[in-house]
Amino acid sequence: MASGKRATCAYGLLLAALLLAPWLGLYPVLAMKLLCFALFACAFNLLLGYTGLVSFGHAAFFGGAAYACGYAMKFLQLSPELGVLAGTAFGALLGLVFGALAIRRQGIYFAMITLALAQMFYFFCLQTPATGGEDGLQAVPRGDLFGVLPLASDHTMYYIVLLITAAAFLGIMRIVNSPFGQILRAIKENEPRAISLGYDADRFKLLAFVLSSALAGLAGALKTLVLGFATLTDVHWMMSGTVILMTLVGGMGTLSGPLVGALVIVALENKLGDAGNALAAMTGIGWFETLGESVSMVTGLIFVVCVLTFRRGIMGEILARWQGRATPQPAVPAVARAQPGAASPGQG
Amino acid sequence: MNMIASPALELRDLHAWYGESHILHGVDLTVNPGEVVTLLGRNGAGRTTTLRAIMGLVGARKGSVRVHGQETIGMKTHRIAPLGLGYCPEERAIFASLSCEENLLLPPQFACTPGAVGLREPMTLGEIYEMFPNLHERRKSQGTRMSGGEQQMLAVARILRTGASVLLLDEISEGLAPVIVQKLAKMIAMLRNRGYTIVMVEQNFRFAAPLADRFFVMEHGRIVEAFAAADLERKMPTLSALLGV
């Protein structure tokens, strides 16, 4: 990001706001949930924005880690930090398996393969007794951090979650700007060239995939810790759809986009009913009251509108305005429709 | 054929763009019915782009393109060919998933309605196979499995079947063994005798020189030189300066 100063400023303000949030009346549990989803979206975006790979199976890492963390804490009586670690490790491991299978294909094929793998994992979660099936893994205790700091209080929990997400966010920033991140950018822009310079593109992408799934796992594990349960919703393919939507709405390939996207979508899921009621009260049109029951329709509508009109997402648009970039530079679409005949890999 | 009513092809101040890049900067070109003309120029001068612009295959185009007097600048690509244009692209565009014969049969034949100017009786498959015995031999094989020369013949033959009278041929001699190039030269001469109007884009000056009635030289998206075959000798020095020929 070029306008570094301004960005630092903005992030500083955001952090300050988040630090004060519980005292400003923001509901801590909702805020924590938001942070978890923001982290999830950032993890997804790490993969999408910086390798151009669209995974349609990230729910598996998120939900798998949520279950792993819950299981570790509830049945193995591990402490929270170990539980979260277990979840993250599980996400990474699952990512390694998925990645190894899917990374050889690209674009839409990659998306479909990850989707199918995640669906397989969904059925596994549904059937295995360890997850409690439809009931979910319930009443996971928050426990005491490092055995000393009790997390039962929402405020304590909030600051811990904030700390972890902020650290993870910084970590993502670091990854993006690391030597490794440079190679990823190069691979994304011109894979054959990067290979010809001696970089095993598939392995770099696999590491990026694993990092992304580990971070998604971290988000899932934190979510279990915060809410005290893990359910099938977390591994359902719609969760993958939701995280794509968050990233799309916020702005693919922008660091801050997923944060904004997560905010918008979580707010939508939780507050659409209220908003509908308010609208109904304001306009007197009773139909708005039913808005709360149509979350999936509204979600669908957002997908359609986003894809058709503002593919750069909210932050993408804002950044484009700020930096006065004339040419649109959407993150994913590396190329327009492949030109027939120019597809031989040697000529990329 | 269609008396001197209107030129077969008339470009006026044609501009063309690929995305942001402005490639043609006002091309003016007139081709009369039954004429064979050649566009010469260095790599990247914009000759291919001129042909593509005529067919509406560029990003955006402006100016005027008249085919037998009819303005086509606002037309959709698929409406242009039926006016009697046949385009044989540089890259040949033989379809891999179609057999040789399917490739040949692919372009729709234009309905030869009585009033339609610019169309002529389409060649039958038999006539084409007679003209290109190689194609008959390989008619069942996959399009891209044919040799470069065969593909080139197929690409040309393909547009003869449609009934087009104006042929736009882009570098048809390119990458072919001289024997085949000679064959193609004979074919062009024959088509000319049959009254086809032909616009050739050629790097291979030696191939084009004996065939064309008129020559145009392009540079940076403009026509910078135009002369008739009779003036060829006289123009040679200019040409070698322009083309390094």
């Binding site: 670091r174 990854i175 700007n177 690391s178 030597p179 490794f180 991140g181 440079q182 190679i183 950018r185 190069a186 822009e189 011109n190 054959p192 060239r193 990067a194 290979i195 010809s196 310079l197 001696g198 970089y199 095993d200 593109a201 770099f204 590491l207 990092l211 530079q329 005949g341 120019a342 031989s344 890999p345 040697g346 000529q347 990329g348 | 790599n43 990247g44 291919t48 540089e90 890259e91 996959q142 891209t144 499995r145 040799s147 470069g148 570098e171 390119e174 990458g175 072919l176 063994a177 001289p178 024997v179 790097q203 291979n204 000056f205 030696r206 083309l243 390094g244 020929v245």
Partner: protein, 268 residues
């Protein structure tokens, strides 16, 4: 000749795409320290040959030996790390990175930190000096901090060359390095190739016969995927088969210029 003199050797290299044989039974041997050209009509299989040598395509049959070791089974990146670096027929740069970063990507490999996702970007700045040196060598020093997408085509090719050089390759495979360049650029690049070829081996595809005749030591002519002839420029240009298949059958004094103009460099 002793084996150590041969840096790259292929035996019966063949590539078939769904029944269409693009490269058939090519046995090539490139001498260490030479500039070797691969020429032939469009579609003769030159680029495909490069793709095979660097394993961008897997050969249908045949073997490739580099410095005496069999590299037929290796992955493309492994081959690159052994010192065989290729350029591409259509200019291959990283358009959204700056010119300097482009070269740095290539230099990064030697640093050994390519996998370090926890390290800061600043750790890369010590490569800048070397990168500037390379850019200077191809005349791009003044553009170092420009976005690569903004470069003119000829400069992109120069940048590509600099990037290739940055990996310090033992064998460089250049696919039409002068394609799309103006006359002056062609001369500069030709001179540059000649200069950097000191101490390395260059295998290049080139349609421009003036380039070929001025710097190339040895030529292999491909036609329809198979080797048609091999020899020095003079041998090749006298070979009747080559003249028929590639250079044309025109009169003696004209053939150089004709060949220069004849084949279009435009790829598909």
């Amino acid at each position: 000749m002793p084996d150590t003199d041969v840096i790259l050797q292929t035996h019966g290299l063949t590539k078939a795409f769904k029944g269409f044989t693009a490269v058939s039974d090519v046995s090539l041997s490139v001498r260490r320290g030479s500039i070797h050209a691969l020429i032939g009509p469009n579609g003769a299989g030159k680029t495909t040959c490069f793709n095979l040598l660097t394993k961008f395509h897997a050969p249908s049959s045949g073997s490739i030996h580099f410095n005496g070791t069999d590299i037929t089974a290796l992955r493309p990146a492994q081959i690159a790390r052994m010192g065989v670096i290729r350029s591409f027929q259509i200019s291959a740069v990283f358009p959204q990175l700056t010119v300097l970063e482009n070269v740095r990507i290539a230099l990064q490999r030697r640093l050994g930190t390519a996998w370090h996702f926890w390290r800061g970007k600043r750790s890369l700045s010590r490569l800048d000096a070397r990168a500037m040196e390379l850019l200077d060598a191809v005349g791009l020093a003044g553009f170092a901090h420009l976005g690569t997408a903004e470069l003119a085509y000829g400069r992109k090719r120069a940048l590509e060359l600099a990037t290739t050089l940055a990996t310090d390759p033992e064998l460089m495979l250049l696919d039409e390095p002068t394609q799309g360049m103006g006359h002056e650029d062609v001369e500069t690049v030709t001179a540059l190739i000649k200069r950097v070829s000191a101490g390395r081996t260059v295998l290049m595809v080139e349609h421009n016969m003036s380039v070929v005749s001025s710097i190339v030591d040895r030529i292999t002519v491909l036609q329809r995927g198979a080797v048609l002839a091999e020899g020095t420029y003079d041998e090749i240009s006298r070979n009747p088969q080559v003249r028929e298949a590639y250079m044309g059958t025109t009169d003696e004094p004209e053939d150089r210029r004709a060949a220069t103009a004849a084949p279009s460099a435009e790829a598909s």
